[in-house]
C-alpha cells in the first residue's frame, strides 16, 4: 500500500496544516478549517482502527530510516483508542466553540479594570487548538522518548496559550502557574531521557524494552522515577493537582473541555505506556503508590467539588477526582487485561462526559451570566436540553448503567475481585456516591424557581445540541464497549 494512503502520518500532518492555515487566514476562516480538518481526522482515525483490527499494529518510519537512527510512529490498540477519543471529542467541541465565541462576543463581554484592548478570544483559538490536537495525535503515536518530550512541550505551550486566551488576570495567573509546573515536569522527564540515552544509546521504545529487561541499573530507576514524577505532575494526580482547578476552571468553556477531556489524558497515557513497556520492571514497585494516590484524588477531588459554589470549579474538581480512577488500575494490572480495559474505558468515557459537562456549564454561564450554583435557579425550565445533557454526563461520571463509566467501574471491580483486592471497592463505590452528591447538587439547584428579576440570555441551539451529543455518546459508549475492548487487544 502506498504511504500516501497511510492514515498514521496524516493524523499528525493534517492538524498541523490546518492550524498553520488558520493562523495565516485569520479567525473567521479558522472555524471552518478546524471543522473540515477534524471531520477528515475522525474518518482517518476510524479507518486506521478498522485497518488495524484486520492487520495488527502499524509502524511508520519517519524519513524511511527506522529506529534507532530515525523516529518511528507506532499505532497499536492503546494508541488508536486514544486517537479515536481525541477526534470524537474534538469535533463537537469545535462546532460548539464556533457558536460559543460568536455568542460571547455579541453578549456583554466582561470587561475588567485596565483592559488594554477589547479582546477577541477566538483570534488565536483555532490555531492553538489545531496545534493542541496535532500534539495529542503526535504524542499518542510516537514511539521515541525524546520525540515524546517535544510533543509534550508542544502540548504544554498550546494548552497554556489556550488557558491564557482572553488575557483576564485570573487566566494569566492560572496559565503561568500551569506553565511553570509543566516546565518543571518536562525538565524532570528530559533528565530521565538523558539518563536512558546515556545508558543505552537509544531513545526508541521498541529498542529500549528488551535492553532494559528486568534488572536495570540504578540510573534507570532514577530516570524512571523522574519521568514518572514529571508525568504525574502534568496529569494533575493528587498531590500535584493544585494547578488544575484554576486553569481548567478559569478558561473559556470550550478550552476547559479540551483540557479536561483530552490534555490530562495524554500524560496518563504516557505513564501507562511506559510502565507497560520499557519501564515494566518499575511497575510493581510503584503500582501501589499510584493506586493510593488515585484513591486520595478521588476522595479529595470529590470533596472539593462538593464544597465549591462555583460551577466551573466544581467541574474542574470533578476532573481531579475522576483522574484518580485512572490510577486505580495500576495495582490491578494483570495479564487478563481487565484493568487496562477499565483504564481506557474510564479515559474515554470521562473524556466525553467531561467535555459534555464543561460545554453544558458554558451554556448555563452564558445564559445566566454567572458562574455560581445559586445563579442556576430556574435554568431547568429554560434550557431543558442542557440540563438533560448535564444529567447524562453525571450518569457516566457516577458509573450508572448503561454508561461507559459504568462499564469502566464494572471492569475495575471485576479486576479487583479477581485478585482479591477488595479494599479498592470501597473507594470505587464511595467515589461514585460523592459524585452523585455533587451532580445532584447542580441539578437540584437548576430546578428551583427563579426569582422574578432573573433575566436569561438566549443561547445558540448548536451549543446545546453539541453538549447533549457528547453526553449521549458518553452514555451509549457502554453499549459499544466490546468494540473498544477488541481494539485494545491489538498489541
Amino acid at each position: 500500500m502506498s504511504a500516501w494512503l497511510d492514515p498514521v502520518p496524516w493524523l499528525i500532518l493534517l492538524p498541523l496544516i490546518w492550524a498553520t492555515l488558520a493562523f495565516i487566514l485569520g479567525p473567521r476562516r479558522g472555524g471552518r478549517l478546524a471543522m473540515a480538518g477534524l471531520a477528515i481526522q475522525l474518518g482517518l482515525a476510524v479507518y486506521l482502527a478498522t485497518q488495524m483490527m484486520a492487520t495488527g499494529p502499524r509502524v511508520h518510519s519517519l524519513g524511511g530510516w527506522g529506529a534507532p537512527l530515525g523516529i518511528d510512529l507506532l499505532a497499536d490498540g492503546l494508541a488508536v483508542a486514544m486517537l479515536l477519543l481525541t477526534q470524537i471529542a474534538a469535533l463537537p467541541l469545535v462546532i460548539y466553540a464556533r457558536a460559543y465565541f460568536s455568542a460571547s462576543s455579541t453578549a456583554s463581554a466582561p470587561q475588567w479594570e485596565g483592559a488594554p484592548r477589547r479582546m477577541v478570544p477566538s483570534d488565536q483559538f483555532w490555531p492553538l487548538t489545531g496545534f493542541l490536537l496535532a500534539a495529542l495525535n503526535a504524542l499518542f503515536l510516537s514511539a521515541d522518548l525524546f520525540n515524546l518530550y517535544v510533543t509534550l512541550e508542544l502540548l504544554t505551550l498550546a494548552a497554556v496559550g489556550l488557558v491564557a486566551l482572553g488575557g483576564k488576570p485570573s487566566q494569566v495567573v492560572a496559565a503561568l502557574r500551569y506553565l511553570l509546573v509543566s516546565l518543571a515536569a518536562s525538565g524532570a522527564y528530559l533528565m530521565g531521557v538523558a539518563l536512558i540515552y546515556g545508558t543505552y544509546g537509544t531513545v526508541s521504545i521498541a529498542h529500549l524494552t528488551p535492553l532494559i529487561g528486568t534488572q536495570p541499573p540504578p540510573a534507570i530507576w532514577l530516570a524512571g522515577g523522574l519521568m514518572m514524577t514529571g508525568l504525574l505532575a502534568k496529569t494533575a494526580l493528587f498531590p500535584f493537582h493544585f494547578w488544575l482547578p484554576p486553569a481548567h476552571g478559569g478558561a473559556a468553556a470550550p478550552v476547559s473541555a479540551l483540557l479536561s477531556a483530552l490534555v490530562v489524558k495524554a500524560s496518563f497515557y504516557l505513564v501507562l505506556r511506559l510502565l507497560l513497556e520499557p519501564l515494566a520492571p518499575m511497575a510493581e514497585a510503584v503500582s501501589w503508590l499510584l493506586g493510593l494516590l488515585g484513591a486520595a484524588a478521588i476522595l479529595w477531588g470529590s470533596w472539593q467539588a462538593l464544597a465549591t459554589r462555583h460551577l466551573k470549579r466544581l467541574v474542574a474538581w470533578s476532573t481531579v477526582a475522576q483522574l484518580g480512577y485512572l490510577f486505580l488500575i495500576f495495582p490491578l494490572l494483570a495479564p487478563d487485561g481487565l484493568a487496562l480495559q477499565a483504564g481506557v474505558m474510564q479515559a474515554v468515557s470521562h473524556g466525553l462526559a467531561k467535555a459534555a459537562m464543561f460545554t453544558a456549564v458554558g451554556v448555563l454561564m452564558l445564559a445566566t451570566g454567572r458562574d455560581t450554583l445559586d445563579g442556576l435557579a430556574g435554568v431547568a425550565g429554560r434550557l431543558p436540553l442542557t440540563i438533560f445533557a448535564l444529567g447524562l454526563a453525571g450518569v457516566t461520571l457516577m458509573g450508572l448503567p448503561p454508561s461507559g463509566g459504568f462499564l469502566a467501574k464494572w471492569l475495575l471491580i471485576d479486576a479487583a475481585l479477581g485478585q482479591g483486592q477488595w479494599p479498592w471497592l470501597i473507594i470505587i463505590i464511595g467515589g461514585g456516591l460523592l459524585t452523585a452528591a455533587y451532580v445532584f447538587q447542580v441539578l437540584r439547584q437548576s430546578f428551583l424557581t427563579a426569582p422574578e428579576s432573573t433575566h436569561f440570555q438566549p443561547v445558540p441551539r448548536s451549543m446545546e445540541w453539541t453538549a447533549f451529543m457528547l453526553a449521549a455518546a458518553s452514555v451509549l459508549l457502554g453499549l459499544r464497549g466490546v468494540e473498544w475492548i477488541e481494539l485494545l487487544a491489538v498489541v
Partner: protein
C-alpha cells in the same frame, strides 16, 4: 584523577557558582546578568564537549536572545511596578 584538565574543572565550578548566584541573588537585575554570564560559560562547556553547533546556539539563543528577553521583561516590570518583583501568589 590526573587526566582531568584544570580547564574543565574550573569551568564546571564556574557554571555551578554562577548558576547558584543567579538563583540566590535577591536583586533581579543582578540575577539576569549572572544568568547571561552563566549562558556564556555554558557555551564554553559545549565547546569543550566538542559540540560547536550547540556552543553557537547557546551563545546566540541561550545567552543572547534569552538574556535580551529577560532584560526586556525586567525593564517592563520596573516601569510598571517601580522595582517591586512579581511573586508567585501561592507558596
Amino acid at each position: 584523577m590526573p587526566d582531568l584538565p584544570i580547564l574543565d574543572l574550573t569551568l564546571a565550578a564556574a557554571l555551578l557558582f554562577t548558576g547558584w548566584r543567579t538563583l540566590a541573588a535577591p536583586d533581579l537585575f543582578k540575577a539576569v546578568v549572572l544568568f547571561i554570564v552563566f549562558g556564556l560559560f555554558m557555551a564554553l562547556a559545549w565547546a569543550r564537549l566538542e559540540a560547536p553547533d550547540i556552543a553557537l546556539a547557546e551563545a546566540a539563543i541561550g545567552a543572547g536572545l534569552t538574556g535580551a528577553l529577560l532584560l526586556d521583561a525586567l525593564g517592563h516590570l520596573r516601569a510598571r511596578r517601580h522595582g517591586r518583583s512579581l511573586q508567585d501568589p501561592q507558596p
